[in-house]
């Protein structure tokens, strides 16, 4: 394994559009992210303008007319390179991302591998199939249900704001943009700017032409002159960002331009009494513990709370104890990242509040927590005032319920923010649960234990990942029939009088 000398900064940008001379005249800055010094070009409106022009040209040359299946094959092969443990970019990611993010190396290694599975060649087909009855509409006009033909055009250029909370997430957005044949101007996240750069390098090794349709930079979010320049040349904006940043972007994205925000979301789990059978409850607890602990609960997909149904072989309080034991077990193999002062203080605060409430038996509160330090916390609470978001970093509340209907009042106030519902129940109840949870705002129902890994093609945050980016052009059926009138064979002046439509 190569170790960098401490003075060597890692390049955290991907700009194949610029040659060495052009790169040399840029202004550069180096800043440590976590423990890793990273080197970035200083982004100016002029640089963005130059890049956008070249990205648009590359898109016209390399992407616009390339068949979608060809693009898919390239992406599939690029992703396949990451399955190989000796893939240089993967090794780089496994070496550097723990230092950048503070996440346990083993969690980064497994997390990346599990996440990238979502983009195997066959799964990429599902992304297409989810949003298009016939994916060839991305290449040309194909029959639609209304009797005409339609073609879907992706943006020529999409400005993307990548997430930095969970390594690997930008792969989803990148893949989606490529599948609709859009070039990408990507702004990496300050907290983890490296993964999209490494992934871009892999694409470049597989297909340099395609890679020229992708640039990755970092600028401080909200730098208006830079963003205005980018938006003016883009056809779409896609952003994974917090509420305030999303609101700010929404005000600045030109009217009529597709704006696809993946804002902050809250996820939760519901455990039915069937999953608390004596033969099942320990396994259920292990799955929930994994969902909570993966990436220290930083992802939108991580549960904040678990609603546990009464009436099982094990009651919700005992389930909380089992969950606590599994949280401890997970911590031993994949310890949580070190916390910043404020994060630790937040956990200490919530633990103390619940502990004091637990002194009063009538409160129905119990605190289970890691013996030393604040690695994990399970807060059992019978009568929560409301669905309280977790301070994260492996703090989860457990609320007993008498049935799925009891969950609804807790969800409704957060309906705009709900995302994944992990569930564990008998098959005959699946549909009823899903219907109710969907009505409350959840957009993904998955098995407990699989919350951090959305399936390929998922309607991400309730939107079509590809469909939200494309615009349609329809040829009306009547037009197709009508143009027959202008077939030169019929309109050619001739003396012949036999044949032809009357």
């Amino acid at each position: 394994m190569t170790r960098l000398p401490a003075s060597d900064a890692v390049d955290a940008f991907f700009l194949p559009q610029l040659d060495a001379a052009e790169l040399a005249v840029l202004e550069w800055t180096t800043r440590p992210v976590g423990t890793v010094p990273l080197r970035f070009p200083v982004v100016t409106p002029e640089l963005v303008e130059q890049l956008c022009d070249r990205l648009l040209q590359a898109q016209a040359d390399e992407l616009a007319e390339r068949p979608v299946m060809e693009v898919l094959e390239v992406l599939g092969r690029a992703v396949a390179r990451w399955y190989d443990p000796s893939c240089p970019q993967r090794r780089r990611a496994e070496e550097l991302l723990p230092g950048i993010t503070g996440y346990a190396p083993e969690m980064v290694r497994r997390g990346l591998k599990e996440h990238l599975r979502t983009f195997r060649r066959d799964r990429l087909l599902r992304f297409l199939a989810q949003d298009f009855d016939n994916p060839l509409v991305l290449d040309g006009f194909h029959p639609n249900r209304a009797g005409g033909r339609s073609r879907a055009y992706g943006p020529r250029l999409t400005t993307q704001f990548f997430a930095g909370n969970v390594p690997g997430l930008p792969a989803w957005n990148l893949v989606c943009a490529f599948l609709v044949k859009s070039a990408t101007l990507g702004k990496s996240a300050g907290a983890e700017p490296l993964f999209p750069v490494l992934f871009a390098h892999t694409i470049a090794e597989e297909d340099p032409g395609l890679a020229r349709c992708l640039a990755v930079l970092h600028w401080p979010g909200g730098q208006e002159d830079v963003e205005q320049t980018a938006f003016a040349r883009s056809d779409a904006v896609m952003a994974t960002a917090g509420l305030r940043a999303t609101e700010s972007l929404a005000q600045r994205v030109p009217v009529g331009m597709p704006f696809v925000p993946y804002g902050h979301k809250v996820s939760f789990a519901v455990v039915g009494h069937e999953a608390l059978a004596l033969t099942r409850f320990a396994d259920t607890a292990r799955r929930v513990a994994r969902d909570v602990s993966q990436y220290d609960q930083q992802g939108c997909l991580s549960p904040h709370a678990v609603f546990v149904e009464r009436g099982g072989a094990v009651d919700p309080r005992a389930f909380s104890a089992a969950l606590a034991a599994e949280m401890e077990r997970y911590e031993r193999s994949r310890p949580r990242a070190g916390l910043r002062f404020e994060e630790s203080a937040a956990i200490a605060g919530v633990r103390a509040r619940y502990e004091f409430r637990s002194y009063d038996e009538d409160q129905g509160v119990e605190v289970f927590s890691s013996r030393h330090g604040n690695a994990w916390t399970v807060l059992f609470e019978e009568r929560p005032e409301r669905f309280e978001p977790s301070p994260l970093n492996r703090v989860v509340r457990v609320h007993p319920v008498d049935g799925i209907e009891d969950v609804v009042p807790h969800l409704l106030p957060l309906r705009r923010y709900l995302q994944t519902a992990g569930i564990a129940c008998a098959p005959e109840r699946l549909d009823a649960w899903a219907s109710l949870l969907g009505r409350c705002g959840a957009d993904r129902i998955c098995a407990v234990g699989q919350m951090p890994q959305p399936a390929a093609g998922w309607h991400h945050d309730g939107l079509g990942s590809l469909a939200s980016l494309v615009r349609w052009t329809d040829i009306e059926g009547a037009a197709e029939a009508d143009v027959e009138r202008y077939d030169p064979e019929w309109t050619r002046p001739s003396g012949s009088s036999d044949g032809g439509p009357r």
């Binding site: 203080a345 200490a348 103390a352 509040r353 002194y359 330090g373 106030p413």
Partner: protein, 393 residues
């Protein structure tokens, strides 16, 4: 009240005697070994009493494996977080028999106010007088005190109002009083009092919250008025700007005190106190200037009857030398509830001015610990909670 008070319980009487004697022998360099041993003994004794009589605190200690006899030093006494004063009734005596119940303002959550029960205020009074005299009034017995805060009668559960009222009662020269009523700060009366002091050459002491001074300074700026208060005039402020629309740095505030009131920077003293404890921590600047010592960095001092630890919020253990952490107070005057209190304030110990090493009884207060703001999605939690709150209102 004085004179008609019932006799103190034995332990309280000994605490009072010790605090008063410690105040007389106050050494700015900090306690010697002898004093330290006495503090330790009294702290453990007070802990045993509070453990015995304060039921929820006993439970809190048991959960941490701490009980009298099993701990050897004051540093091992479990500090209660501030939220305990909101969630529990942390009183050694029946709460209805308390001489005073001081409550937090509840600016963050009006429904949940912290409450500190005092069976009597003799220790509280002794503490507040000794510190004020030592750090704010080393040079004289009395001073005309102009208070920018409502009188205690108007805010019976405010420890601040009580504190300032006691100061006026104990140290106020003729002309002292409060310049805040139900209508707010009486700027006209206050500026008249300042003009009078300037004209007559009478030194004054202004007392109030940092925010109250902002009102005064705004009013002075609006009229273009400024004063050059006589030598010996000084100013005491406390608190920050939590929940206020404006924030001003302490430096900017002191600069304005200089230009608008003519009070030298060193004679502007900030103190740090809170409802949940019975001791205040003052800037050392005024006393140092009075003693003709080097100014040094602005720090706050721990009085002889209190101790301060700086801890890591994750482990609860002390942070490495000089690093910032949460402040833990060990306050022998906090007799009615718990002597050990974990604050939500952040600070670090100051290097010992004499030796430049640790072991200092001085510290730098950095402010309140902010809520969780961190990687990725968690940044949104505050926003989300705000959205949630917005929905409820």
């Amino acid at each position: 009240m004085i004179g008609s008070e019932p006799e103190l319980p034995a332990l309280d009487a000994r605490l009072l005697t010790w605090i008063e004697r410690a105040a007389q022998r106050w050494d700015d360099a900090g306690p010697g070994d002898d004093e330290e041993a006495k503090f330790d003994r009294l702290a453990l004794e007070l802990f045993a009493d509070q453990y015995e009589r304060n039921t929820p605190y006993r439970r809190f200690c048991r959960a941490r494996g701490a009980e009298p006899g099993r701990i050897a030093r004051w540093q091992q006494i479990p500090p209660v977080p501030l939220s305990a004063f909101k969630e529990l009734t942390l009183s050694c005596d029946p709460p209805e028999r308390a001489a005073a119940v001081f409550m937090t303002s509840g600016s963050t959550d009006p429904g949940r106010r912290g409450r500190n029960h005092h069976p009597h205020l003799r220790l509280y009074d002794a503490s507040l007088r000794a510190s004020f005299r030592h750090w704010f009034l080393p040079d004289r017995e009395q001073l005309r005190l102009l208070v920018l805060n409502p009188p205690s009668a108007q805010q019976p559960h405010s420890s601040l109002a009580y504190f300032l009222g006691q100061l006026v009662e104990s140290f106020g020269a003729p002309g002292s009083g409060s310049f805040v009523d139900e209508e707010g700060l009486d700027v006209d009366a206050l500026t008249a009092a300042l003009a009078e002091a300037e004209r007559d050459g009478v030194a004054v002491g202004l007392l109030g919250t940092s925010f109250a001074y902002v009102h005064l300074l705004d009013a002075l700026e609006a009229t273009g008025a400024s004063f050059t208060l006589p030598d010996g005039s000084r100013l005491l402020d406390t608190g920050g700007f939590k929940g206020r629309s404006r924030e001003i740095s302490a430096e900017a505030l002191r600069a304005a005190f200089g230009t608008r009131l003519g009070i030298p920077e060193d004679w502007c003293v900030n103190y740090y106190g809170m409802t949940e404890i019975s001791t205040q921590y003052y800037d050392t600047s005024l006393r140092r200037a009075w003693l003709g010592q080097d100014r040094g960095p602005r720090v706050k001092a721990v009085p002889p009857w209190a101790r301060l630890l700086v801890v890591d919020p994750g482990t609860g253990g002390p942070v490495p030398e000089g690093e910032r952490g949460l402040l833990v107070h060990y306050d022998l005057a906090n007799r009615g509830s718990c002597l050990a209190v974990l604050a939500e304030d952040v600070g670090h110990l100051a290097p010992d001015p004499a030796t430049g090493t640790r072991g200092s009884n001085e510290f730098v207060l950095l402010g309140r610990a902010q809520g969780s703001e961190a990687r990725g999605c968690s940044i949104a939690l505050d926003e989300l909670l705000a959205a949630n709150e917005g929905r409820r209102r």
